[in-house]
């Protein structure tokens, strides 16, 4: 798997975190781009724009989870299943145990985390294509198990009227309220991902995906860090699933199929898998597409497919790769 980096022409964005002064130029560009956008929905104040903005944040959270997994060169096709595990854990906790919303998200994270560790320990020894196939099988298995346990999952009817999200008694199911909550949740997720990736843990991730044999020869235990990356990515997906359940108010095994994982991959690759802001960009560009092209649903899927192949081929760094390069030019380096 590690030769993956060598074969495709990666632009010179050093995936490796280069010391402070380079960071400020790039983060300045991203802040200039995203802060006004984040405020836009509050200014427009239309329920449709809130709906889109909430979906963008939701997709960005779940996709940034996948971004952590891809950091150790592992692609997971089970991201839908982990979002599903989180969604069911959170929804059932709220419905059956009356647990408050935030605590149910913690339970969602725990459930997804435990499942990820178990699966990770089982399959992370596999190389490249085999690992991806195992996650593909796991995603189908999750849907199958949910259908086989109608008492828990509600079977094909799923769980309906999941109580609206409320924090400390204050119901936030109103569009502006929920948007502010999910925007903060996205910011928190990006902060956690940034902390992981710039810490020694992130260094180990980059070493493992950069040159596995040398990483081992430097004393890095590959399995432990691969499972760590896989678990943290899946936990983020689980939390995202929990928030989605509260917002949509309904989940069923059909909401977390193979195509859910596919959409996450497309957003990550289009946005850019080498930068923390890649998932946010991918979500921003691709989420509004289905709403705008609502009537011709098929056209939207075709555009998804074409974007995926084109970006894979011509811009492996994705859109954020372009912005990184733009930021580099801005800071007079290169």
């Amino acid at each position: 798997m590690s030769e993956l980096q060598q074969t495709n022409p990666v632009p010179a964005t050093a995936k490796w975190k280069i010391p402070q002064e380079f960071l400020t130029a790039k983060s300045a560009t991203y802040c200039a781009l995203f802060l006004p956008l984040a405020a836009l929905p509050l200014l427009i104040d239309s329920s449709f724009v809130y709906h889109i903005a909430i979906l963008v944040c939701l997709n960005a959270i779940i996709t940034s989870g996948l971004g952590v997994i891809v950091r150790v060169d592992q692609l997971s096709l089970a991201h839908g299943a982990f979002a599903g595990i989180g969604a069911y854990a959170s929804a059932l906790a709220v419905i059956k145990l009356g647990v408050p919303f935030l605590l149910s998200l913690v339970l969602a994270a725990l459930a997804a985390g435990v499942a990820a560790v178990l699966l990770g320990r089982l399959v992370l020894g596999l190389k490249g294509v085999y690992f991806v196939l195992a996650t593909f099988a796991f995603n189908e298995l999750f849907r199958m198990i949910m259908l086989l346990l109608p008492e828990i999952s509600g079977g094909t009817n799923g769980l309906s009227n999941i109580p609206a999200a409320e924090i400390a008694g204050l119901e936030i199911s109103s569009k502006p309220g929920f948007y502010i909550f999910i925007a903060l949740a996205l910011a928190a997720t990006l902060l956690v991902v940034w902390m992981i990736l710039r810490s020694p843990i992130g260094r180990a991730f980059d070493a493992i995906s950069g040159n596995l044999p040398l990483a081992q020869a430097s004393g890095i235990p590959p399995r432990r860090y691969q499972i760590l990356a896989f678990t943290s990515g899946s936990v983020i997906a689980g939390v995202g699933g929990g928030i989605m359940a509260a917002y949509v108010g309904f989940i069923s095994p059909e909401s977390f199929t193979f195509w859910f994982s596919v959409n996450t991959i497309i957003m990550l690759i289009v946005g850019g898998r080498y930068s923390i802001m890649g998932p946010v960009l991918g979500a921003l560009l691709l989420t509004p597409l289905p709403e705008v092209l609502r009537s011709t649903g098929q056209l939207q899927q075709i555009i998804y497919g074409v974007c995926l192949i084109a970006i894979l081929r011509f811009m492996p760094g994705g859109v954020s790769g372009l912005i990184d390069r733009f930021a580099e030019l801005m800071s007079g380096r290169k």
Binding site: K127, V129, E140, M144, I302, G305, V306
Partner: protein, 291 residues
């Protein structure tokens, strides 16, 4: 029907199912073997094979038997184009090749949805009625489907074993580097291997179109079944796929008949995950060259 006859009937159903799955899986394993790419669009080529069969028999009114070669030809040519446009740039890069195949699956499925509409289309069966062997009953249309599949697989076997193209593709499946030292030009063999593989998927689609109905959504189940057979039989191994598809057919038939189809699908998926973990190379697959 006595209990023994019931057990034998379920076994016969399983063998029929296995033969159908083999036709679906052999194309998938050939594409992986020659191109080292897991093709997530395999189901879509099966579906297009079904539509090709529908148009040759229903719209153009040709005899049903003619739909098989025409479906193969139409989809094989499409396969050549897809290999050139989508897979060539990712040769030797399995992960990106796989993601690209997901993009291709999206394009083909939704393209078919826009062209042919969502309604399932029914086709006249190859044959009406049923054939009895003692108390065992086999729908004639399925018996014919098995005969056709057997014929197609026989032709495929002959092509692979006794023609230059076949030997070249087989050499590429064994070991791409060694093969190229013998002057086998990958630029030629890769598209041929891919076209042959997806052509077989189209034949499976054409054979099964009259049994079930044809619609843009029929691709997902065959992809899952082909994937299970190939994982159990071993990626890139055609004999492995043969054994595994009969095993999957039998397991599914017995489990589905006694515990319902959902439990059957779940059981087989579990077996696939266990096989992937215990023996990633499957029953007869070659070890993935590591690093």
């Amino acid at each position: 029907m006595s209990f023994e006859a019931f057990l034998i009937q379920t076994g016969v159903n399983g063998l029929i199912l296995g033969a159908l799955y083999l036709l679906m899986a052999v194309g998938f394993t050939l594409v992986f073997g020659s191109l080292r790419v897991v093709n997530f669009a395999h189901g879509e080529f099966y579906m297009l094979g079904g539509f090709a069969a529908y148009f040759t028999t229903v719209t153009m009114g040709l005899p049903a038997i003619a739909s098989i070669p025409l479906a193969f030809l139409f989809v094989a040519v499409l396969g050549l184009f897809c290999e050139r446009a989508v897979f060539r740039p990712f040769r030797g890069d399995e992960l990106n090749g796989m993601i690209a195949s997901i993009g291709l699956a999206l394009i083909l499925q939704n393209g078919a949805l826009m062209l042919f509409g969502p309604m399932p289309l029914a086709m006249p069966p190859f044959a009406e009625g049923l054939t009895r062997f003692g108390s065992i009953v086999i729908p004639t249309s399925r018996l014919l489907a098995i005969v056709i599949s057997a014929a197609v697989l026989a032709i495929f076997y002959v092509v692979m074993m006794h023609t230059r193209v076949g030997r070249a593709v087989r050499a590429m499946v064994q070991d791409a580097e060694v093969a190229s030292t013998f002057g086998i030009h990958p630029g030629l063999v890769y598209p041929l291997g891919f076209a042959l593989g997806v052509g077989l998927a189209a034949v499976a689609g054409a054979v099964m179109a009259p049994l079930f109905s044809v619609s843009p959504f029929t691709g997902h189940t065959p992809l899952l079944k082909a994937f299970l057979v190939v994982v159990l039989g071993g990626l890139g191994s055609i004999p492995g796929a043969a054994i595994a598809s009969l095993a999957v057919g039998l397991i599914e038939s017995y489990t589905a008949t006694f515990y319902g189809s959902l439990a059957a699908d779940g059981l087989i998926l579990l077996l696939a995950v266990i096989m992937l973990v215990m023996r990633p190379n499957g029953l007869l697959g070659r070890a993935m060259r590591v690093g």
